[in-house]
Amino acid sequence: MSPVRHWPMLAVLLAALALPHFTRGTQTEFATEVMITGMFALSLNILIGRLGLISFGHGLFLGVGAYLAGFMLRHLSENLFLLLAAALLVGIVVSALVGAMVLRLGGVGFVMITIAFCQLFYVLILSTQTWSGGINGIPSIPRPKLWPGDDLPNWLTLDSEFTFYYVTLGALVLLMVGLTRLDASPLGSVFSGIRQNAARMRALGYPVRRFQLIGFVMAGSVAAVAGALQASLFNLVDPSLLFWTTSGEVILMVILGGVGALYGPLVGAALFLALFHYLGTLTDHWRLVLGIVFVVVVLYAPNGLVPLVTNAVRRWRGVKPGSRAAAAAALPEDAA
């Protein structure tokens, strides 16, 4: 991960704090959706960018969080903090179980097995019509509350798009800080070593699969939290979350933005959703545009758009593009 200077981040944070005072309701909700999807993409990048594992089944954990939110908010409790804690916990348990199985296969096998696992949950949801709603999903999920009680002022519930925005922003900032700390920690170095050469790390005595499992659980639990927030935002769980193309889309976001930049997946998610919402109103065929853009990025800018822009800025300033950062950002060579 390339080093991040602090003042641009602070400027972005200030802009983000001020944003909902300049947007209308649906725009604020769109910004919230971008941040939630960004968290989802950032969580996947723990696997792609840091460990060099492309999981094609990451939608599974988004779905786990979303279905959990559907149940809890409708039947158990409307408390936001309980919900997030439960999503984190269930995400940890499910991703530990799934990870222990899928990490048995490396390289291409990992790609296939993660797709298959995600699809398994999809068909299980479809075939348990009575409690999961099957193909129709779970509708009319109430939004969580910050405080117990029935007669709360609006701003203490996530029914207020302001509150929802700031709660999501808080979660996102927490995640970004956590990721920065991870990259600076010994654990981050081990991850990076595994990405660059798993065989060498194994020879050095590192239990590679155990570290991969740690990363897998981190990624899965954050994705579950994002899923819980997403279900609360849309008041709905749609089983198509679990179809493997959802997992494909989030890979698209991560790669578009750039796997090597800390905030690359966030930019990728914003681009993707902007394409979806604004191109989607102009033409029904935005996916074609997206597919072609993606193919071009993979062929000609494999490090993604964020490094493309930052390198251009550096070159314009007369600084040699950071060769160290570029080398660290490159996708892993054949891990198989």
Binding site: L105, H285, A335
Partner: protein, 286 residues
């Protein structure tokens, strides 16, 4: 008797269609180490080519012949113009490239052929039933199984008994060594990709009268094919055949005993095989 023959035929039909798709995927993987996620898209395009030919020329049999050829041509164009650029850059650019193609092709089909479900009427000779082992079964299912069996035998013989097949096997075993021995591996890639695409196209057109055609059909079948490839062992044709028949049979048994969960059965097979034998039934542990 009626029920047994019918269900066995269903299982065989399912297994045959799965094998036609999975064999191409497995071969392309074995030789080129590419997980071609766009393989499902080729199956879908094959189905739509079949619809266009069958309606345009008013001849279903010609569609069975032309759709695989057209799909093979498309496959070679994709391989030469796009995939070839990623060789030597590791597996991830290739997987990601084909993922982009999945999205592009789903939308292209929507633009060219429209979003609604389309189907094909069977030609007069195939509408009825035929007697088989004292049971009357749909003639078309028998045809699917027969065509599939012919394709399987041709593929296994071509792969196992011809000089070209030996070259492909050498490439699967050790690409560098095969190239060093003077085999033009790049041309072999194109050839194998063409055969794989043709088989996917054939499966596509064969499946239209049974499952209909719609955008996104490829993304659905792709997963079953991937499961077959993993269960059979990556790169192994014999493994793909065994796994296809196994999963075809498991699905039919599932439909009889636990109809609600029949779609989950193939994943159950996958998880069991993965836990017991991670390299797949016929795969070689590396």
């Amino acid at each position: 008797m009626q029920i047994i023959v019918e269900q066995v035929l269903n299982a065989l039909q399912m297994g045959v269609l799965l094998f036609l798709i999975a064999s191409g995927l497995s071969l392309v993987f074995g030789l080129m180490h590419v997980v071609n996620l766009a393989h499902g898209a080729l199956y879908m395009v094959g189905a739509y080519f079949g619809i266009t030919v069958a309606r345009g020329l008013d001849n279903f049999y010609l569609a069975l012949l032309l759709a695989p050829l057209l799909t093979a041509m498309l496959g070679v164009v994709l391989e030469r113009t796009l995939l070839a650029r990623t060789y030597g850059r590791g597996m991830y650019p290739q997987v990601l490239l084909t993922l982009g193609l999945v999205f592009a092709f789903d939308e292209l089909v929507r633009i060219i052929w429209g979003a609604p479900i389309q189907t094909l009427a069977l030609p007069p000779g195939l509408e009825g039933t035929v007697m088989l082992f004292g049971a009357s079964v749909p003639a078309y299912r028998v045809l699917v199984v027969v065509i599939g069996a012919v394709a399987i035998v041709a593929l296994l013989l071509g792969f196992g008994r011809t000089r070209l097949g030996a070259m492909v096997r050498a490439g699967v075993d050790d690409r560098e060594m095969a190239a060093a021995l003077g085999i033009d591996v790049n041309r072999l890639f194109s050839g194998v990709f063409a055969v794989g695409s043709a088989l996917a196209g054939l499966a596509g057109v064969l499946s239209v009268p049974i499952f209909n055609a719609y955008p996104g059909m490829g993304s659905e079948i792709l997963i079953s094919a991937l499961v077959v490839v993993v269960v059979g062992g990556m790169g192994s044709l014999a493994g793909a055949l065994i796994a296809s028949l196994l999963i075809g049979a498991a699905t039919v048994v599932g439909q009889i005993y636990a109809a609600e969960f029949s779609t989950a059965v193939i994943y159950l097979v996958l998880v069991v095989v993965l836990l017991v034998r991670p390299q797949g039934l016929m795969g070689i542990a590396r």
